[in-house]
Subunit: 139 residues, 3 copies
Amino acid sequence: MWLQSAINLSPRTKGFHLVTDDIVEKLPDLAKLKVGVAHFFIKHTSASITINENADPTVRMDMESHFNYYVPENQIYYQHDYEGPDDMPAHIKASLLGSSVSIPIHNGHLALGIWQGIYLGEHRYNATSRTIIVTLNGE
Amino acid sequence: MWLQSAINLSPRTKGFHLVTDDIVEKLPDLAKLKVGVAHFFIKHTSASITINENADPTVRMDMESHFNYYVPENQIYYQHDYEGPDDMPAHIKASLLGSSVSIPIHNGHLALGIWQGIYLGEHRYNATSRTIIVTLNGE
Amino acid sequence: MWLQSAINLSPRTKGFHLVTDDIVEKLPDLAKLKVGVAHFFIKHTSASITINENADPTVRMDMESHFNYYVPENQIYYQHDYEGPDDMPAHIKASLLGSSVSIPIHNGHLALGIWQGIYLGEHRYNATSRTIIVTLNGE
Protein backbone atom coordinates (compact mmCIF):
# COMPACT_ATOMS: atom_id res chain seq x y z
CA MET A 1 0.00 0.00 0.00
CA TRP A 2 1.28 3.43 -1.01
CA LEU A 3 -0.03 6.66 0.51
CA GLN A 4 1.44 10.00 -0.46
CA SER A 5 0.47 13.48 0.69
CA ALA A 6 1.87 16.98 0.98
CA ILE A 7 1.90 18.61 4.41
CA ASN A 8 2.34 22.35 4.79
CA LEU A 9 4.07 23.50 7.94
CA SER A 10 3.25 27.06 8.93
CA PRO A 11 6.17 29.55 8.91
CA ARG A 12 8.52 29.17 11.83
CA THR A 13 11.24 31.38 13.26
CA LYS A 14 14.86 30.58 12.42
CA GLY A 15 15.91 27.60 14.53
CA PHE A 16 14.95 24.01 15.25
CA HIS A 17 11.33 23.08 15.87
CA LEU A 18 9.73 19.87 17.08
CA VAL A 19 7.06 19.01 14.49
CA THR A 20 6.25 15.35 15.17
CA ASP A 21 2.68 16.05 16.29
CA ASP A 22 2.03 18.57 13.50
CA ILE A 23 2.94 15.88 11.00
CA VAL A 24 1.44 12.77 12.59
CA GLU A 25 -1.98 14.36 13.12
CA LYS A 26 -2.18 14.76 9.33
CA LEU A 27 -1.47 11.08 8.72
CA PRO A 28 -4.61 9.19 9.76
CA ASP A 29 -3.73 6.45 7.24
CA LEU A 30 -0.66 5.52 9.26
CA ALA A 31 -2.97 3.43 11.43
CA LYS A 32 -3.69 1.12 8.47
CA LEU A 33 -0.11 -0.11 8.21
CA LYS A 34 1.22 -2.97 10.33
CA VAL A 35 4.75 -2.74 8.92
CA GLY A 36 6.44 -0.32 6.56
CA VAL A 37 8.55 2.78 6.20
CA ALA A 38 7.43 6.41 6.35
CA HIS A 39 9.46 8.82 4.21
CA PHE A 40 9.43 12.56 4.92
CA PHE A 41 10.96 14.85 2.29
CA ILE A 42 11.27 18.62 2.55
CA LYS A 43 11.04 20.39 -0.82
CA HIS A 44 13.41 23.24 0.08
CA THR A 45 17.14 23.92 0.11
CA SER A 46 17.20 26.33 3.04
CA ALA A 47 15.43 24.16 5.58
CA SER A 48 16.10 20.63 6.80
CA ILE A 49 14.49 17.69 8.53
CA THR A 50 16.22 15.60 11.17
CA ILE A 51 15.52 13.44 14.21
CA ASN A 52 16.55 14.44 17.71
CA GLU A 53 15.54 14.78 21.35
CA ASN A 54 11.85 15.48 21.87
CA ALA A 55 11.65 16.63 25.50
CA ASP A 56 13.89 19.54 26.43
CA PRO A 57 13.57 22.77 24.40
CA THR A 58 17.16 23.71 25.24
CA VAL A 59 18.36 20.90 22.96
CA ARG A 60 16.77 22.75 20.02
CA MET A 61 18.32 26.02 21.22
CA ASP A 62 21.77 24.44 21.57
CA MET A 63 21.45 22.86 18.12
CA GLU A 64 20.73 26.32 16.70
CA SER A 65 23.70 27.84 18.56
CA HIS A 66 26.02 25.12 17.38
CA PHE A 67 25.04 25.21 13.72
CA ASN A 68 25.26 29.01 13.69
CA TYR A 69 28.75 28.84 15.18
CA TYR A 70 30.09 26.19 12.79
CA VAL A 71 28.22 27.39 9.71
CA PRO A 72 28.68 31.13 10.19
CA GLU A 73 27.31 33.99 8.17
CA ASN A 74 29.61 36.24 6.15
CA GLN A 75 32.42 33.76 5.65
CA ILE A 76 35.00 35.39 3.40
CA TYR A 77 34.72 32.53 0.89
CA TYR A 78 30.97 32.86 0.28
CA GLN A 79 30.08 34.05 -3.21
CA HIS A 80 26.37 33.21 -3.06
CA ASP A 81 24.66 35.87 -0.94
CA TYR A 82 21.79 37.14 -3.12
CA GLU A 83 19.27 36.73 -0.37
CA GLY A 84 21.30 37.98 2.58
CA PRO A 85 23.78 36.62 5.11
CA ASP A 86 21.59 33.64 5.98
CA ASP A 87 21.41 32.47 2.35
CA MET A 88 24.52 30.32 1.96
CA PRO A 89 24.58 29.09 5.59
CA ALA A 90 21.01 27.83 5.04
CA HIS A 91 22.10 25.77 2.02
CA ILE A 92 25.05 24.27 3.89
CA LYS A 93 22.88 23.36 6.88
CA ALA A 94 20.35 21.75 4.54
CA SER A 95 23.01 19.31 3.30
CA LEU A 96 24.60 18.74 6.72
CA LEU A 97 21.27 17.86 8.32
CA GLY A 98 19.51 16.41 5.30
CA SER A 99 16.37 16.85 3.23
CA SER A 100 14.62 13.70 4.35
CA VAL A 101 14.14 11.22 7.17
CA SER A 102 12.81 7.69 6.95
CA ILE A 103 11.18 6.13 9.98
CA PRO A 104 10.01 2.52 10.37
CA ILE A 105 6.28 1.91 10.76
CA HIS A 106 5.23 -0.70 13.32
CA ASN A 107 1.61 -1.53 14.22
CA GLY A 108 0.17 1.69 12.87
CA HIS A 109 2.69 4.03 14.48
CA LEU A 110 6.07 5.56 13.74
CA ALA A 111 8.57 3.33 15.56
CA LEU A 112 10.46 6.23 17.09
CA GLY A 113 12.51 5.79 20.22
CA ILE A 114 10.92 7.18 23.38
CA TRP A 115 13.08 10.33 23.24
CA GLN A 116 12.99 10.83 19.47
CA GLY A 117 11.01 13.43 17.55
CA ILE A 118 11.05 15.00 14.09
CA TYR A 119 12.74 18.41 13.88
CA LEU A 120 12.19 21.03 11.25
CA GLY A 121 15.41 22.97 10.81
CA GLU A 122 14.37 26.43 9.64
CA HIS A 123 17.52 28.15 8.44
CA ARG A 124 16.11 31.44 7.08
CA TYR A 125 15.19 34.54 9.11
CA ASN A 126 12.06 35.27 7.10
CA ALA A 127 10.71 31.92 6.14
CA THR A 128 7.48 31.11 4.41
CA SER A 129 5.57 27.89 4.99
CA ARG A 130 7.46 24.67 4.22
CA THR A 131 6.14 21.70 2.28
CA ILE A 132 6.91 18.13 3.28
CA ILE A 133 6.02 15.22 1.00
CA VAL A 134 5.10 12.21 3.09
CA THR A 135 5.21 8.80 1.42
CA LEU A 136 3.94 5.87 3.45
CA ASN A 137 4.67 2.40 2.14
CA GLY A 138 3.76 -0.80 3.90
CA GLU A 139 1.13 -3.42 4.44
CA MET B 1 7.68 -8.74 1.10
CA TRP B 2 8.20 -6.89 4.37
CA LEU B 3 10.44 -8.15 7.16
CA GLN B 4 11.00 -6.11 10.29
CA SER B 5 13.05 -6.89 13.35
CA ALA B 6 14.82 -5.22 16.24
CA ILE B 7 18.52 -5.86 16.69
CA ASN B 8 20.26 -5.09 19.97
CA LEU B 9 23.88 -4.07 19.73
CA SER B 10 25.86 -4.69 22.90
CA PRO B 11 27.28 -1.61 24.66
CA ARG B 12 30.28 -0.09 22.93
CA THR B 13 32.88 2.43 24.03
CA LYS B 14 32.53 6.02 22.86
CA GLY B 15 33.64 6.16 19.23
CA PHE B 16 32.87 4.65 15.85
CA HIS B 17 32.42 0.90 15.47
CA LEU B 18 32.10 -1.31 12.42
CA VAL B 19 28.91 -3.32 12.92
CA THR B 20 28.12 -4.72 9.47
CA ASP B 21 28.70 -8.34 10.46
CA ASP B 22 26.89 -7.98 13.80
CA ILE B 23 23.85 -6.80 11.89
CA VAL B 24 23.92 -9.01 8.79
CA GLU B 25 24.29 -12.23 10.78
CA LYS B 26 20.92 -11.45 12.37
CA LEU B 27 19.23 -11.05 8.99
CA PRO B 28 18.92 -14.55 7.50
CA ASP B 29 15.84 -13.38 5.56
CA LEU B 30 17.95 -11.03 3.49
CA ALA B 31 18.77 -14.05 1.30
CA LYS B 32 15.13 -14.26 0.21
CA LEU B 33 15.15 -10.90 -1.53
CA LYS B 34 16.38 -10.48 -5.10
CA VAL B 35 15.84 -6.73 -5.13
CA GLY B 36 14.83 -4.23 -2.47
CA VAL B 37 15.98 -1.74 0.11
CA ALA B 38 17.17 -2.43 3.67
CA HIS B 39 16.43 0.32 6.18
CA PHE B 40 18.35 0.56 9.46
CA PHE B 41 17.04 2.95 12.11
CA ILE B 42 18.65 3.63 15.47
CA LYS B 43 16.12 4.44 18.23
CA HIS B 44 18.39 6.81 20.15
CA THR B 45 19.38 10.48 20.05
CA SER B 46 22.91 10.11 21.36
CA ALA B 47 24.15 7.52 18.89
CA SER B 48 24.17 7.46 15.10
CA ILE B 49 24.43 5.14 12.15
CA THR B 50 26.46 5.90 9.04
CA ILE B 51 28.37 4.23 6.21
CA ASN B 52 32.13 4.45 5.86
CA GLU B 53 35.39 2.63 5.24
CA ASN B 54 35.40 -0.99 6.43
CA ALA B 55 39.09 -1.93 6.43
CA ASP B 56 41.38 0.35 8.42
CA PRO B 57 40.59 0.90 12.12
CA THR B 58 42.36 4.26 12.04
CA VAL B 59 39.53 5.65 9.91
CA ARG B 60 37.17 5.07 12.84
CA MET B 61 39.71 6.65 15.21
CA ASP B 62 40.14 9.69 12.98
CA MET B 63 36.37 10.05 12.65
CA GLU B 64 36.13 10.11 16.44
CA SER B 65 38.94 12.68 16.71
CA HIS B 66 37.35 14.89 14.09
CA PHE B 67 33.84 14.86 15.50
CA ASN B 68 35.17 15.52 19.00
CA TYR B 69 37.14 18.49 17.70
CA TYR B 70 34.30 20.06 15.73
CA VAL B 71 31.53 19.16 18.17
CA PRO B 72 33.36 19.94 21.41
CA GLU B 73 32.23 19.43 24.96
CA ASN B 74 31.61 22.40 27.24
CA GLN B 75 30.82 24.96 24.56
CA ILE B 76 29.84 28.18 26.27
CA TYR B 77 26.51 28.21 24.44
CA TYR B 78 25.32 24.79 25.65
CA GLN B 79 22.36 24.93 28.02
CA HIS B 80 21.48 21.23 27.92
CA ASP B 81 24.02 19.36 30.06
CA TYR B 82 21.89 17.27 32.46
CA GLU B 83 23.80 14.13 31.71
CA GLY B 84 27.32 15.50 31.56
CA PRO B 85 29.67 17.10 29.05
CA ASP B 86 29.00 14.44 26.40
CA ASP B 87 25.22 15.03 26.50
CA MET B 88 24.73 17.88 24.02
CA PRO B 89 27.64 16.88 21.74
CA ALA B 90 26.01 13.45 21.41
CA HIS B 91 22.73 15.00 20.23
CA ILE B 92 24.51 17.21 17.68
CA LYS B 93 26.51 14.27 16.33
CA ALA B 94 23.31 12.23 16.03
CA SER B 95 21.85 14.82 13.64
CA LEU B 96 25.10 15.43 11.73
CA LEU B 97 25.61 11.73 11.08
CA GLY B 98 22.00 10.62 11.00
CA SER B 99 19.64 8.16 12.64
CA SER B 100 19.25 5.83 9.69
CA VAL B 101 20.88 4.39 6.60
CA SER B 102 19.20 2.75 3.64
CA ILE B 103 21.12 0.24 1.56
CA PRO B 104 19.99 -1.39 -1.70
CA ILE B 105 19.43 -5.14 -1.68
CA HIS B 106 20.67 -7.09 -4.69
CA ASN B 107 20.51 -10.88 -5.05
CA GLY B 108 20.11 -11.58 -1.36
CA HIS B 109 22.87 -9.26 -0.17
CA LEU B 110 23.38 -5.66 0.84
CA ALA B 111 24.76 -3.96 -2.27
CA LEU B 112 27.53 -2.19 -0.40
CA GLY B 113 30.66 -1.05 -2.19
CA ILE B 114 33.71 -3.19 -1.58
CA TRP B 115 35.09 -0.72 0.97
CA GLN B 116 31.81 0.17 2.64
CA GLY B 117 30.56 -0.94 6.03
CA ILE B 118 27.94 0.14 8.57
CA TYR B 119 29.26 2.20 11.47
CA LEU B 120 27.63 2.63 14.84
CA GLY B 121 28.52 6.06 16.18
CA GLU B 122 28.45 5.76 19.95
CA HIS B 123 28.55 9.28 21.33
CA ARG B 124 28.19 8.64 25.07
CA TYR B 125 30.92 7.62 27.50
CA ASN B 126 28.74 5.20 29.40
CA ALA B 127 26.43 3.72 26.86
CA THR B 128 23.94 0.96 27.25
CA SER B 129 22.98 -1.40 24.43
CA ARG B 130 21.53 0.25 21.33
CA THR B 131 18.46 -0.88 19.41
CA ILE B 132 18.30 -0.80 15.63
CA ILE B 133 15.03 -1.44 13.81
CA VAL B 134 15.73 -3.19 10.53
CA THR B 135 13.03 -3.07 7.86
CA LEU B 136 13.64 -5.14 4.74
CA ASN B 137 11.39 -4.51 1.77
CA GLY B 138 11.71 -6.19 -1.59
CA GLU B 139 10.80 -9.18 -3.67
CA MET C 1 7.14 -2.66 -8.85
CA TRP C 2 10.89 -2.76 -8.25
CA LEU C 3 13.45 -1.43 -10.71
CA GLN C 4 17.13 -1.43 -9.88
CA SER C 5 20.07 -0.29 -11.97
CA ALA C 6 23.65 0.88 -11.65
CA ILE C 7 24.56 4.26 -13.10
CA ASN C 8 28.17 5.21 -13.73
CA LEU C 9 29.00 8.88 -13.40
CA SER C 10 32.08 9.92 -15.35
CA PRO C 11 35.04 11.20 -13.29
CA ARG C 12 34.56 14.70 -11.92
CA THR C 13 36.95 17.22 -10.41
CA LYS C 14 37.04 17.59 -6.64
CA GLY C 15 33.97 19.57 -5.61
CA PHE C 16 30.19 19.48 -5.80
CA HIS C 17 28.48 18.71 -9.10
CA LEU C 18 24.85 18.91 -10.14
CA VAL C 19 23.99 15.47 -11.57
CA THR C 20 20.19 15.40 -11.64
CA ASP C 21 19.95 15.29 -15.43
CA ASP C 22 22.80 12.78 -15.79
CA ILE C 23 20.87 10.45 -13.51
CA VAL C 24 17.27 11.02 -14.61
CA GLU C 25 18.04 10.53 -18.30
CA LYS C 26 19.12 6.99 -17.41
CA LEU C 27 15.84 6.23 -15.67
CA PRO C 28 13.20 5.89 -18.41
CA ASP C 29 11.23 3.54 -16.13
CA LEU C 30 10.54 6.37 -13.71
CA ALA C 31 7.66 7.36 -15.99
CA LYS C 32 5.88 4.08 -15.16
CA LEU C 33 5.44 4.94 -11.49
CA LYS C 34 2.55 7.06 -10.22
CA VAL C 35 3.72 6.96 -6.61
CA GLY C 36 6.82 5.63 -4.93
CA VAL C 37 10.28 6.38 -3.62
CA ALA C 38 13.53 6.57 -5.59
CA HIS C 39 16.64 5.56 -3.67
CA PHE C 40 20.11 6.64 -4.83
CA PHE C 41 23.10 4.99 -3.18
CA ILE C 42 26.75 5.78 -3.92
CA LYS C 43 29.06 2.76 -3.52
CA HIS C 44 32.08 4.75 -2.35
CA THR C 45 33.45 6.13 0.91
CA SER C 46 35.22 9.18 -0.53
CA ALA C 47 32.29 10.68 -2.40
CA SER C 48 28.80 11.62 -1.29
CA ILE C 49 25.33 12.34 -2.58
CA THR C 50 23.14 15.16 -1.29
CA ILE C 51 20.34 17.50 -2.34
CA ASN C 52 20.84 21.22 -2.75
CA GLU C 53 20.26 24.30 -4.89
CA ASN C 54 20.11 23.60 -8.62
CA ALA C 55 20.49 27.03 -10.20
CA ASP C 56 23.56 29.01 -9.14
CA PRO C 57 26.98 27.39 -9.62
CA THR C 58 28.42 29.52 -6.81
CA VAL C 59 26.39 27.48 -4.31
CA ARG C 60 28.42 24.42 -5.31
CA MET C 61 31.65 26.45 -5.07
CA ASP C 62 30.72 27.78 -1.62
CA MET C 63 29.82 24.28 -0.46
CA GLU C 64 33.27 23.11 -1.53
CA SER C 65 34.96 26.05 0.23
CA HIS C 66 33.01 25.44 3.42
CA PHE C 67 33.62 21.69 3.63
CA ASN C 68 37.31 22.18 2.90
CA TYR C 69 37.52 24.76 5.69
CA TYR C 70 35.71 22.69 8.32
CA VAL C 71 37.09 19.31 7.25
CA PRO C 72 40.70 20.36 6.61
CA GLU C 73 43.55 18.33 5.27
CA ASN C 74 46.54 17.52 7.44
CA GLN C 75 44.82 17.74 10.80
CA ILE C 76 47.31 16.75 13.47
CA TYR C 77 45.00 13.98 14.70
CA TYR C 78 44.71 12.14 11.35
CA GLN C 79 46.35 8.72 11.33
CA HIS C 80 44.81 7.48 8.08
CA ASP C 81 46.60 9.18 5.19
CA TYR C 82 47.70 6.31 2.92
CA GLU C 83 46.30 7.95 -0.16
CA GLY C 84 47.30 11.53 0.49
CA PRO C 85 45.99 14.59 2.33
CA ASP C 86 42.51 14.29 0.78
CA ASP C 87 42.07 10.70 2.03
CA MET C 88 40.69 11.17 5.54
CA PRO C 89 38.81 14.43 4.77
CA ALA C 90 37.01 12.53 1.98
CA HIS C 91 35.82 9.85 4.42
CA ILE C 92 34.58 12.45 6.92
CA LYS C 93 32.73 14.37 4.22
CA ALA C 94 31.13 11.12 3.04
CA SER C 95 29.55 10.61 6.47
CA LEU C 96 28.63 14.27 7.00
CA LEU C 97 26.85 14.51 3.67
CA GLY C 98 25.70 10.92 3.35
CA SER C 99 25.89 7.96 1.00
CA SER C 100 22.31 8.04 -0.18
CA VAL C 101 19.31 10.21 -0.87
CA SER C 102 15.68 9.13 -1.16
CA ILE C 103 13.28 11.21 -3.21
CA PRO C 104 9.51 10.75 -3.52
CA ILE C 105 8.13 9.76 -6.91
CA HIS C 106 4.93 11.47 -8.02
CA ASN C 107 3.25 10.95 -11.41
CA GLY C 108 6.34 9.58 -13.11
CA HIS C 109 8.75 12.22 -11.88
CA LEU C 110 11.02 12.87 -8.92
CA ALA C 111 9.01 15.17 -6.65
CA LEU C 112 11.89 17.58 -6.09
CA GLY C 113 11.25 21.17 -5.09
CA ILE C 114 11.67 23.71 -7.86
CA TRP C 115 15.14 24.70 -6.62
CA GLN C 116 16.34 21.21 -5.67
CA GLY C 117 18.81 19.04 -7.51
CA ILE C 118 20.99 16.02 -6.80
CA TYR C 119 24.64 16.80 -6.03
CA LEU C 120 27.57 14.46 -6.36
CA GLY C 121 30.14 15.40 -3.74
CA GLU C 122 33.49 14.35 -5.20
CA HIS C 123 35.99 14.53 -2.37
CA ARG C 124 39.13 13.18 -4.05
CA TYR C 125 41.55 15.10 -6.29
CA ASN C 126 42.04 12.24 -8.71
CA ALA C 127 38.73 10.46 -8.85
CA THR C 128 37.65 7.66 -11.09
CA SER C 129 34.07 7.15 -12.20
CA ARG C 130 31.51 6.71 -9.44
CA THR C 131 28.76 4.10 -9.29
CA ILE C 132 25.29 4.89 -8.02
CA ILE C 133 22.75 2.14 -7.42
CA VAL C 134 19.27 3.40 -8.16
CA THR C 135 16.33 1.48 -6.70
CA LEU C 136 12.89 2.60 -7.77
CA ASN C 137 9.95 1.23 -5.83
CA GLY C 138 6.35 2.18 -6.43
CA GLU C 139 3.22 1.47 -8.38
